[in-house]
Subunit: 337 residues, 4 copies
């Protein structure tokens, strides 16, 4: 149920609605834009409650949700959500660039790359410390050592940090170092992990599973929001199709679709989508033109030596040149970069 | 085999190579850019011919092809091919817009739409007269009557005409009316049709089959080129995947991939890819940002009454507004519109 | 509309219904099982006709179709259709085996293979004379020469012939030699071809397009039936998915689904589905266990020398051994072989 | 590296190899069939070790692995692995049936169903206590209460228990109740979970992710085996494709493929593959015909009231009738049931 208050509803009336809902044992979620306050009770069977709520002065309407996702839906919040990652807003007029190596490998590698992406215009440093690898025999990441390097690099170059979490048990550890916790594609429906991420306040970057529909992605975001953490950034990173020329197929149409269905920010990952640095610039430009709020791009100061995914990483100079193109396309679609 | 001549090769030397190849019973294809002449013999088993060709003065190198597509490959022609559709170039610096209704339904419908798309900036009018429909009981198009209306509209509003061909027996008929013959997605591997299209000189717009790989698409283009018609325009129009929120999934990465692998122009069809007019603008903008040479977009002067695909057609005003955005994005990636 | 006559309806009453329908300008299709006669008018907009038909004595009910396919649907015909290919029934209790080489290459190859598959239990010889190849430079088949060899081999070893047709212009030619005309996966939605096949009486083997849905397959069968040829044999041959360990993914569930939705026979092609002779036996056994009416299997007397698809062809001895296993599984599911 | 000992190798020689490997800091895995002992060191970079091992008497050969999966590969173990679930062998000549409701809902529901599947021939009872649901608002399972009911039902009807685990933190809890721990499709690449399951000895039923390749599935099995738990049962349960008539597409060819590539048992889940009880029998029969070692089938004593997945559950009588058919097909392919 979502309860839309009238423009002239008083705080007291809003409070009455909330109290009524809480008294029935439900948890209300409230969103307020310039004028309108909306109160959402995501899961409700009690038909009578609709009538009871309508009795309260100041209530304009009480409606069921038309979709299985609720807190993350446009129905709940018609305005775009802007998530503040420290002083870096994600989802507003300004395009945000997240860049860095696939995995944190060494201080030198990380710092060189961090410096170059900062200089080029990135605001957020990416880098994996816990790596979900298909093979148990592959490099699994530097773990906490990697987190420490990330924090150090973030401080040194004034970059926020985004890094992946792979286990529900690591939430506290990683939240202690990172500004954004990333859920990788393979964990998009790891519901135990999503539940833990609902309990913290830090922003979560939720990557689309390569086998998951747009609706399933929103349901996974709903898990985090329903747990109490509304700070979810969606990320389209390519889906698995019959076409194998690229590693995955970037579903560019997910960008306008998610913008229509949800108020959450959506960014694009052209690196994992293509798995090929030669195609990254075209996909990055397409992403911004299609309406994405940002990009997450792999950049490695020494591609040939990368312990994972070197083939898809951009050289720092290529990244810098791409940012100049991105600025022009961003301006062409009335965004800033 | 492709034979690359030296920059200073004489016409006589080039002629010697061609004569040698012809004497062996092969058909040579020749391409010449500013300086370099390349002679291609697409299919050759005769290992000795490599040596014999190398004996001729002026030959720089004789190499096998690394890919199964040859005439349409970058290996054969490093320069972008520009196809002249009358006075409208496709594949050059200028972005070309093709627009119009899914099917030709009536003179009024076609003319109203044609006038509006011309005014907005389209150079080529699309419209189906022979419609490949999934059901034998659906509207199959006005056939020759539709072709006549297209030609009339083209003359009235100074627009070139692109229309679909579905049967090898219709090549002459349709080539008599249209400026570009379109091969639809379901016919991309209709090799009998492709063979007939290799025998004419008119440009062919080859749509990617919704189940076909990028390599298979280039092989189908090769069929037309090998038959003698080098004027092939490639068209990405969405592939079939598990995601059903959109009708198909626009494979935006096919744009940079085809640009890398082939010298042919590539355009994007956001209308069939999404099947939803609300997503067409985002996909159109993404297509140009990714490097496409043009767009083919469905526009209908009266969407509600469309006999097919009304849901994906743009209103004329929406199309006009989109063109303004496209101009800005085209400029941002150093193209003209 | 389908008109179901009462069990005691007279021929005169049936005739009245047919006359009424014809007078309205529609073509009626009639099916009769033990007791019930059903008259189908596949495409009808005229709501009044339902009422008028119901006025006729002997009419039990007049109902709209619930699916877009009609003549091929279970709604029209609740009994399984048995198609007689000469004296070989397809779709009855007996499992039918079609076997032979991918392409007809030479008399010796064809005759040796034909002899072996006949001996093992096949009733129908497969072999391609017109080959739809992805590359214009690949072997395209022996064409009419191949058809002649097929007819000769069929007569020599008392085998019916199934061979592929790729162009609407070839219907007459191929129907002059073959007992079953095969529509390959890439032509499943070649509607010009399907229309021509609707005009003949010979059975058509319709292969599922590798990215076509079950419903689309039935719509393509409907094209042939609506044209006047009810003798369509459906063939599941694998669809294209992300999994590439096999060439295609055999959609085994299409067998029970098509049996439920349609009265047409359905056979399975394990050779093209897997592209790998090692997996053919398991898929063939699974096909029969799942309820298929037959199999079409590639067998080559000399796999290593095959001009196409050698990797997926069985050796004659392997085929013979497989037939023994198939007999046991057929018996286990109450079928004969 | 895999070290194959000679048939006449002594225990002492085998011990020498193991000691050498351990001294180098690697963990050796040993498998022994009738005659041959093979020692596997899954991940090894040290080229010299090959030579050193070859110096030891009794070593026949030391070879690298050709595939990224090693402990679960046929290269390591040519014999089929039989996993003993108490006194129920999985992977031997006898087909094993696992059956029961999707979710444990109540004692009555579980016990009624358990009794009926036991009577029909099932040896293992399935039932979810921890349910991974797409929506946070759906029924999430009875959790430990459900586990207790499962154990009780297992004891009452002499059935082993298989139930799903969704979080690495629950391994100990669930292993305390269940005989087999199931990893669901969405968690196939939840590597944290796989790592924990490598630390126990209980059998793990590993379901294929709906968009995971056969190779990725084997890599996930390798995670568990590399952790020290060799008791992995593979389960094909349908993959996600463009076809939506069924919920998923059962990849029947995965059965012979996995049998070829791995020594682990493989079972088929026709219920989740089809999502439709009408198709379950055909898919179950196909699975056994294709060579599967068992089936896991949803059965619900009262389908209409099921809290999840009722549509795909069989009625107990339908299940019993299916088992009779399965017995005949099992016999036809030389298996027992």
């Amino acid at each position: 149920m979502r309860v839309v208050m009238r423009d002239d509803a008083t705080l007291k009336q809003i409070g009455q609605v909330i109290t009524l809902i809480e008294n029935k044992g439900y948890q209300p979620f409230v969103v307020k834009d310039d004028k309108v306050t909306t109160i959402c009770v995501p899961s409700i069977q009690d038909e009578k409650l609709f009538d009871e709520v309508m009795q309260i002065q100041g209530v304009k309407e009480a409606l069921p949700f038309s979709k299985p996702y609720r807190l993350v839906s446009r129905e709940f919040n018609a305005s775009d959500t802007v998530i503040d990652v420290g002083d870096v807003p994600v989802g507003g007029k300004e395009i945000v660039l997240m860049a860095g190596p696939c995995a944190v490998e060494s201080k030198e590698q990380l710092f060189t790359t961090a410096e170059s992406v900062k200089k080029a215009g990135a605001k957020i440093l990416r880098g994996g410390a816990f790596k979900p690898r298909t093979s148990p025999y592959s490099f699994q990441g530097l773990k906490e050592e990697g987190l420490k390097l990330l924090r150090e690099a973030g401080r040194e170059f004034d970059l926020k940090i985004v890094t992946e979490i792979v286990s529900p048990g690591d939430v506290e550890l990683i939240a202690g170092y990172a500004d954004i916790l990333q859920v990788g594609a393979r964990n998009m429906q790891n519901f135990s992990l999503l539940e833990q991420l609902g309990k913290i306040a830090k922003p979560v970057l939720l990557k689309r599973g390569m086998m998951c529909t747009i609706e399933e992605m929103l349901m996974s975001a709903e898990y985090i929001a329903a747990g109490g953490n509304p700070n979810v950034i969606l990320c389209e990173r390519g889906i698995r199709t019959f076409e194998r020329h690229m590693r995955n197929t970037l579903d560019i149409s997910a960008v306008p679709a998610l913008k229509e269905l949800s108020h959450l920010p959506i960014i694009v990952d052209p690196s994992h989508a293509s798995g090929n640095d030669r195609y990254v610039p075209a996909l990055a430009l397409a992403g911004i033109a299609a309406g994405a709020d940002g990009l997450i791009i792999e950049v490695h100061s020494c591609r040939e030596e990368a312990l994972c995914d070197g083939k898809q990483s951009l050289e720092p100079e290529t990244f810098a040149a791409l940012v100049e193109q991105l600025k022009r396309v961003a301006a062409a679609v009335n965004r800033k970069l």
